[in-house]
């Protein structure tokens, strides 16, 4: 029997955002990454083509994070000792872009400095041709101090700087605007708070094709259902024409999943949890798959095996 396939026609579309500037655009990146542009719910290829596939970022730190899981330390080995070799390893592991998360303290235990942050960013930019996201340590004054210096030192590279939150976004947005970078805007699992922050940032004059939103997701087993539904609602609002939700979404399944005990530790856990490494990779991968289905554009991961599997999931989802 003939079937009239129900196709959604939406008035809105997701904005297209490009990270990283190649030589032609005044930067030094070998490649740029473009995300967004969707005109349908994720992977509804029978309605509209998906113009840009989701991308995978690998999170690295400016110095070896002692509190990361042993599994991650094993996976990256000595590369973790300096950000340049870690960035190279991330590129080799299949990253589309690199997220450099700056630490609160330097190796000497004293607060991180602008000079050290700039040195780390420059080393990473020299080591890889991938676009770069730079995140502050998450303390207002230090974030502003480090990110302003980084933004100026890497002027024109089209970095994405973060994390803008409602309590601290002005300085980061201002320096990103002045130096040709992007920003990531994070709100705590709430459609209206996300939208409000996007409005505040664009009201400062930030061009809307230079904003990424991070809805905060939670990990599998630790609240992913909230993040999942907030992302679906954000995407629906965007397609319905709500301009201030039409930004590509950057999500951090690596950070979320590796906080979970299921990934982080291998001892003193129930036997029914099975093999540690495989469980941890599944935790990160399945968190990512759920976020892909709900509309993620950039997934920030930590384990190289998860990167492989999430790329596989993206390849699969892109099949029409």
């Amino acid at each position: 029997m003939p079937i009239d396939i129900p196709k959604d026609k939406w008035p809105g579309k997701i904005r297209t955002v490009t990270l990283g500037a190649t030589a032609a655009d005044g930067g030094s990146r070998a490649t740029a990454v473009t995300v967004g542009g969707g005109m349908s719910l994720p992977y509804m290829h029978f309605e509209n083509p998906t113009p840009n596939r989701p991308v995978v970022a690998i999170e690295i730190k400016d110095r070896k994070p002692e509190d990361w899981s042993q599994l991650l330390k094993k996976a990256w080995g000595d590369a973790m000792n300096d950000p340049a070799s870690w960035a190279k390893a991330a590129e080799a592991a299949g990253a589309d872009l690199v997220v450099l998360a700056l630490s609160v303290n330097g190796a000497d235990g004293k607060p991180n400095t602008a000079a050290a942050a700039v040195a780390a960013v420059k080393a990473v930019l020299a080591a890889t041709g991938l676009p770069l996201v730079v995140l502050g340590p998450g303390q207002v004054d230090l974030d502003n101090e480090l990110l302003v210096a980084v933004a100026e030192a890497a002027k024109g590279e089209k970095l994405a700087l973060g994390i803008c939150e409602d309590k601290n976004y002005r300085t980061i947005v201002a320096t990103a605007m002045a130096n040709g970078h992007l920003v990531t805007a994070r709100a705590p699992m709430d459609v209206n708070l996300s939208k409000q922050l996007n409005i505040l940032i664009s009201d400062m004059g930030m061009p809307t094709d230079r904003i990424l939103m991070d809805p905060t997701t939670g990990a599998l087993g630790y609240g992913i259902e909230y993040g999942y539904s907030v992302m679906e609602r954000l995407r629906l609002a965007a397609l319905q024409g709500d301009s201030m939700t039409q930004f590509p979404m950057i999500v951090t399944p690596g950070f979320e999943a590796w906080k979970a005990k299921e990934s982080k530790v291998g001892e003193g856990v129930p036997e029914a949890w099975g093999d540690w490494q495989e469980r941890a990779v599944n935790w990160e991968t399945l968190t990512s798959v759920a976020l892909l289905e709900s509309g993620a554009d950039i997934l920030v991961l930590r384990h190289p095996e998860s990167v492989k599997r999430v790329r596989l999931a993206i390849d699969e989802l892109m099949t029409a």
Binding site: P2, P6, Y43, G221, G223, V289, L317
Partner: protein
Amino acid sequence: MALTGIQIYKLLPQTNCKECSYPTCLAFAMKLAAKQAELSACPYVTEEAKKQLAESSAPPIRLVTLKSAGGEVKAGNETVLFRHEKTFYNKPGLFIKVKASEGAAAIQARVAEIDAFKVGYVGIDLSVDGFAVEADGGDFAAAVKAVRAGTKRPLILVGKDVAVLDAGLAALAGEAPMVHGADASNWEAMTDLAKKHAASLVITGDNLETIADLTEKVKARGLEDIAIDLKAAGMGAHLGLSTQVRRLALKNFRSLGHPLVAFASGSGGRDAVYAAHAIAKYAGFVVLDRFAPELLYPLLVLRQNIYTDPQKPIQVQPGIYEINHPKAESPVLVTTNFSITYFSVANEVEGSGLPAWLLVCDAEGMSVLTAWAAGKFDAERIAKSVKGSDIAGKVAKKRLVLPGHVAVLSGELEAELPDWEIRVGPREAVDLPAFMKQAL
């Protein structure tokens, strides 16, 4: 599709007798449409109207139930495309597939081991829901008997040869198993087979029109319990087809109003990715090729998460929780009974390896800031939780750590609990381990 209020109104007596307790028939019709009233409240409704309303209120996706001595697995009865619109109801059953060619003895041992698998998550014991047995050669009836000897859980029998499947189904008398799968070439024999054994039937295909034709033919032959296995070139194509089926079903296109079955296989993590996709997007039954606890556990958790009712956030029981074997000198950390808040805090403290007492206050299932703003998490309530528990008798050093977000409560709380030292902790759970190491 369910009838609108106006459509229902036309079926009512339109006398405005008020005996249903609503002022007018139209008001009653609107309540019926919103599923906030029962038709039986109207004493004058005609049999014809009852029939029409019953048909229109039949669920758009048929409920299919597999039964055995070990329990039931249900799929269907879903009413929305997105969980935030209402909720998803029937969690997809997770089945593990075994092959007849493995041999009866090996099958029985493996199935018994998988059957015993049990893993705890937020106080719930999770396990696999059933098994699929594939007729890939060898003695199928013996294989089904071996599976039945290893488990009581419901079964799906997979094969193409009707005589072989018949022999397998004969071993499952008195149950409601599922048979996979019928297509255009064998649907008549498969339908008769399923009817004979009180089984539900899976129709397979890669084209919705063909599948819809087949479901109608099978129904005309007298079998209603049908599920659909969509064959697609990849996950994106599968998502497209699954979404189309769900959308059409919710528009009351009855020919596709059946639960979906998905098979997840492949190496290099592919099976995990497929299964997660199927759980998120509309599968009613998920069949895995292999059993591994490190795969089952996250999949079972994902299923719990996706099928949590968004309108009823999971709460944890208020009270004292012991983390890492606390002693008399360990600190007392305060938080709310919103599940995510609780699990974030408990997880961080547990991960830190440091012992602590966690005092979970009844904040009506809200997070710290939300509860504080709503007046459900104030000094009085916290003091009440402390006094209502036996925590004072368990600690020698009376130290209470407040979440940083409610630092403002510390003065009042000192007044409420004069013999306690009130400390202000970090705002976020993630900073608790460092705080506990340095400040406590």
